[in-house]
């Protein structure tokens, strides 16, 4: 699957390739991200204004995941995940995400894909990582 991605192209369960690394573009973490995120979640804002809430980079990685050289995965449901927070992030840090499919398993309604994902900072240090379980649609019969 090496076609040029377009807005309408989609990656179905059958198209998922195991063990192919996908690297996203980067995003620089700003005070605006933190203000929007803490306002949305209602959590107590960090005492140190340069602190980045732990769940913000994880949330940003899900959007970054759409910006890879592969059409968007047709996710029917995000089933669950395990995640480790390895090092703190600060305002001004730039993160990107690196992911690959570890396994895919066919189900009646679609297929289950286990994705490994790392959030990496500008010094190439992995700051967060984990495994996500996604239910992905099958390609509809033509």
């Amino acid at each position: 699957m090496r076609e040029i991605p377009t807005a309408t192209a989609q990656c179905f369960f059958e198209d998922v390739e195991v063990n192919v690394p996908l690297k996203t573009p980067g995003v620089t973490l700003t005070r605006a991200h933190v203000a929007l995120f803490t306002g949305l979640t209602g959590e107590v804002a960090p005492a140190d204004p340069d602190t980045v809430p732990s769940l913000l980079p994880l949330s940003l990685s899900s959007g970054l995941g759409w910006r890879v050289p592969r059409p968007p995965l047709v996710v029917l449901a995000f089933m669950g995940f395990e995640w480790r927070f390895l090092a703190p992030l600060r305002i001004g840090d730039t993160i990107h995400s690196l992911s690959r499919t570890l396994t895919k398993r066919s189900m009646r309604e679609g297929g289950v894909v286990i994705e490994e994902r790392k959030v990496i900072n500008q010094r190439d240090e992995t700051v967060q990582e984990g495994k996500l379980t996604l239910l992905v649609a099958r390609r509809p019969a033509a």
């Binding site: 979640t41 209602g42 732990s54 949330s59 959007g63 995000f78 669950g80 995640w83």
Partner: protein, 160 residues
């Protein structure tokens, strides 16, 4: 709900926050509720960049198993985290070190959710200044259905 007020990024103003020694296995907490709105979903889509049709295309979702747009799973988790910070003791110095999470059911626009949590375990960690606290969590909707559940692990500073 008895017990020390507010495991987040820092203590509430005027409250020193709790230390590892202040937390006991079996302590339970219930957060306030929060009604999830369309606005919450739109802001999360804009902030995260996750514009999956599940969350943004009302017409497409009419024919889905959900029948309507649903909140991003990670939005639910993020709101869970915010609610928990209002219903659990804040660690004087604590950080989230890991989590295991299951998305069991959809959160729809207008649903009101709250958090039930329980301190499940305390143990030593790699850093002698901190202990690790495991908290079991359930995110519950207005019908009493558990829509998300899992456990979070927090590194919480010890008293010196």
């Amino acid at each position: 709900m008895a017990g020390p007020p507010v495991l987040s990024y820092g203590p509430v103003e005027g409250h020193p926050g709790v230390f590892f020694e202040d937390l006991a296995v079996g302590q339970e907490f219930t957060s306030p509720g929060r009604t999830v709105t369309e606005t919450d979903i739109v802001i999360f889509a804009g902030l995260s960049g996750d514009y999956n049709v599940l969350h943004t295309d009302a017409e497409h979702m009419k024919s889905s198993i959900f029948g309507e747009r649903i909140a991003h799973g990670l939005l639910g988790l993020s709101i869970e985290h915010g609610l928990a910070s209002r219903g659990e003791p804040a660690a004087a110095h604590g950080v989230l070190s890991g989590l295991k999470w299951k998305f069991k059911g959809p959160i729809k626009i207008g649903d009101t959710i709250h958090v039930r949590s329980r301190i499940a375990a305390k143990k030593d960690g790699p850093d002698p200044r901190c202990g690790l606290v495991t908290v079991e969590r359930e995110l519950v909707n207005q019908l009493g259905e558990v829509v998300q559940e899992g456990e979070t692990e927090h590194a919480v500073e010890r008293r010196r």
